[in-house]
Subunit: 473 residues, 2 copies
């Protein structure tokens, strides 16, 4: 399958085109267009190891019609267009390797409607998950997907197929998006599905756009699933003698269908960082952080069943709490994990890896990864959404030291290959972006060509977030 | 977006090409190729109003490699290729309007592996849901999707995004397929995903193929999600004074998150047919058939909460049972519904409609549909997976009477338009096939062009199940 028509090579625009495109944008959008260095840099800012590659210009859009107008200008001048929400992605998704337009959707922050009877709501792409859940506070409903920051936008989360701590119970963005509105590369505005709870009406364009990382269309609205707040919640923390023990308990709990709402692993290095960060004195041992959601009886049964399982496998501690304040106290360490790690090793950068394996291979994959970290002489805390078989090893390095950088990149490649060998994926939730292009090919083989054919069919000029997921140039 | 390259018009093959293609197939596959009239007719047989359009030839494939060989021959001679599983689809999906090759995958019926630790299994496309669940009997696990026949194949169910009675709790094929192996139009064999429980590795080709109705690739293997058998099951039957009452109770139960595993509506006409068919004497009133799955305590709580809700809304009867034999007795009427209707009106054919609306619009949509049936003077039983907002009105007609046929087709169009107006879909679970092409355009608008662009990019010769979902000719 031909990746693109021969007469329309995908490449960076020339300087004349850039200049004219920016003039057109300024003429149309006035002071919502900027070439200010600070703002351009902020729009390519990265939370991880990817170096910033700023766009030529940032445009702040206010509605779907404006997005379509920007796309038309981008198409005319072959300017790359990079959708921007909160900039919390981890794989360089908002970088502009060919320059172009960063299209900031954060101003599209209207919650358009909430339908309690259908357990859904429709929002503009720039609504953050924090704002949405605040808005829902009095409805008894909540939006479940929790990638670890309140600032992430619903549009960005859909575009990267985000998940996080609650996916083991409530699913990822794949499961929680009902329909999307998107502007396609030719300016067409589509709705990908009706609001019906299920449908067999043609190709699943919703799921095609979820996880497409801005390369197929620009998501402007989303209708997402809501869940009833559980009648009761119990939080628990269980400490183990080894990572293997914690993994074995996780695997058994999943196979038994214990109904966990969250099950998160922190390794001793992470706990040490958290203790320093938050002034805590938690035991620095492999620890599972859990939540159980359900009726009062159900959560007591689940928590008791989990405690029995954990103790039978050698857990050294188990503490649980139902009261909200106590639950917050128990879970504080987990919520602060990534920030604590950054703080504990000042001046060093983390490469956030993201493999996910079938949960039955979790213990094996983590054990091999631990051995690899030791053999390579790396410092790499491990945290994981282990109920999904998803974990992040976070090798620390000095970004200015090229030898160190190459060493951790090689580690990341080995980790991805290990997960692929164990029937898993190089990325459970962060996406491909710029960082996993090579690993995606190793994992998916010829399926990447099918993806590229779709990309070329829907974006023949290659203007939508080029050089992400694959390189077509 | 151009639907296809101009130099490769999609059209039926000429007779010379047909002849040569069949010769090539016979040479390669011997007695697994047939042009026998009875077998060709059986491969285009329809359970509903679509007239049979037989293929030129039927090929029985035994593995993925053979499927790829058939695709290569089909491509060489521009022969349509129509995947065939059990032939239980309802929208003419297995018809061959341009002739071509019916590719029978029912012999690909190996269960390749079951992974209890990961709650998944991998099967060949021709495995039936009945065979899979028999195989799983001793594992404590089951495959949940239940479209109403044990004979449906997993490949066919994936291709049509099937759902049925359990979707309200366990989801549809969209939710229960982890990965697919497929042969694409150029003969490439792809795996759409790893076996990891979640992934952000590029475009979601799994979900793109689920529901693509054989138009984008031929599904040869599927890895599907399994669920633990519930510790306890309670079945229940609740009778109401009106369809509206039954709908109101359904809508409230869903909004309250009562955790129903099944909630099915039968109208009085259907119950009359069932009584005649099975020698029962059920009250011929609007009736909900329910199942609750969970722990012993949970199902008792759920059933009691539902009974309280139903009685407070005016239910005239409520009966429940936990014992398996009693549960079967209670549910018998539901399982026999469609067959009972066929038997009750001998010589008449059903058009099986399939709208699905947001559940909050269910009562309104059914009320308007009842009024429409009455005004049009039709006989049309109504059954529904009402927890999903999905129901089937089944207008009966004499297929030889063209005036009657046009009348029920007009009714079907009005019903689809009504559902679309209520933010729903023309097809909740049966797919577009040949029957909903016009309605799909009304529902999805420009999004159909996006689908057509994908189709043309992945199948430029238009050989994969042409004239289904849309017409590109």
């Amino acid at each position: 399958m031909a990746p693109q028509p021969d007469d329309q090579p995908m490449s960076a625009p020339d300087s004349q085109d850039r200049h004219e495109a920016i003039s057109r944008l300024v003429k149309r959008f006035g002071d919502r267009v900027t070439t200010n260095d600070g703002i351009r840099n902020q729009h390519s800012n990265s939370l991880t190891w990817h170096a910033a590659e700023p766009p030529d210009v940032v445009v702040f859009a206010q509605d779907t019609g404006e997005v379509a107008e920007v796309v038309a200008i981008a198409a005319k001048y072959r300017m790359p267009i990079i959708p921007f929400g909160a900039g919390t992605s981890l794989e360089g998704h908002v970088n502009a390797p060919w320059g172009g337009i960063s299209l900031d959707l954060s101003g599209m922050d209207a919650i358009l409607c909430v339908n309690p009877g259908d357990l859904d709501c429709t929002v503009e792409a720039g609504v953050t998950r924090g704002a949405l859940n605040s808005h829902l506070r009095d409805t008894g409903l909540f939006f479940s997907v929790d990638p670890g920051t309140q600032e992430a936008t619903i549009g960005g989360m859909a575009a990267t197929r985000a998940s996080g701590t609650t996916a083991v119970r409530y699913g990822t963005m794949r499961d929680n998006v009902i329909s999307l509105q998107a502007v396609m590369a030719d300016g067409t505005v589509i709705d990908t599905a009706s609001r019906a709870g299920k449908s067999a009406a043609g190709y699943d364009l919703t799921r095609l756009l979820v996880g497409s990382e801005g390369t197929l269309g620009i998501i402007t609205q989303a209708t997402v699933r809501l869940h009833g707040r559980p009648e009761a919640v119990i939080a628990a923390v269980a400490g183990f003698q080894s990572l293997d023990q914690a993994c074995q308990v996780t695997m058994q709990a999943i196979a038994m269908g214990l109904g966990l709402a969250r099950i998160e692993l922190l390794d001793p290095l992470t706990l040490r960082a958290v203790n320093a960060h938050a002034g805590l004195s938690l035991p620095e041992i492999p620890t599972l952080f859990l939540e159980f959601h359900g009726t009062g009886n159900a959560v007591l049964e689940q928590s008791a069943a989990f405690e029995e399982l954990a103790r039978s496998e050698g857990a050294v501690s188990f503490e649980s709490a139902g009261d909200e304040q106590d639950r917050r106290r128990l879970w504080k360490a987990r919520h602060d994990g990534l920030w604590a790690i950054r703080e504990a090793w000042p001046g060093r950068t983390v490469l956030v890896t993201d493999v996910c394996v079938p949960v039955s291979r979790l213990a094996e994959c983590i054990a091999e990864t631990q051995a690899d970290i030791a053999a390579a002489g790396l410092t790499a805390p491990i945290v994981g959404h282990v109920g999904d078989g998803n974990f992040h090893a976070l090798p620390l390095h000095d970004p200015a030291n090229e030898a160190e950088r190459q060493k951790i990149l090689a580690f990341s490649d080995r980790l991805a290959e290990r997960a692929i060998r164990m029937e898993g994926t190089c990325t459970g939730e962060h996406g491909v972006g710029q960082g996993k292009i090579g690993s995606l090919r190793k994992e998916m083989g010829a399926a990447v060509d099918v993806m590229a054919s779709i990309k070329s069919a829907l974006d023949p000029l290659g203007i939508l977030n080029p050089e992400k997921i694959f390189r077509l140039s």
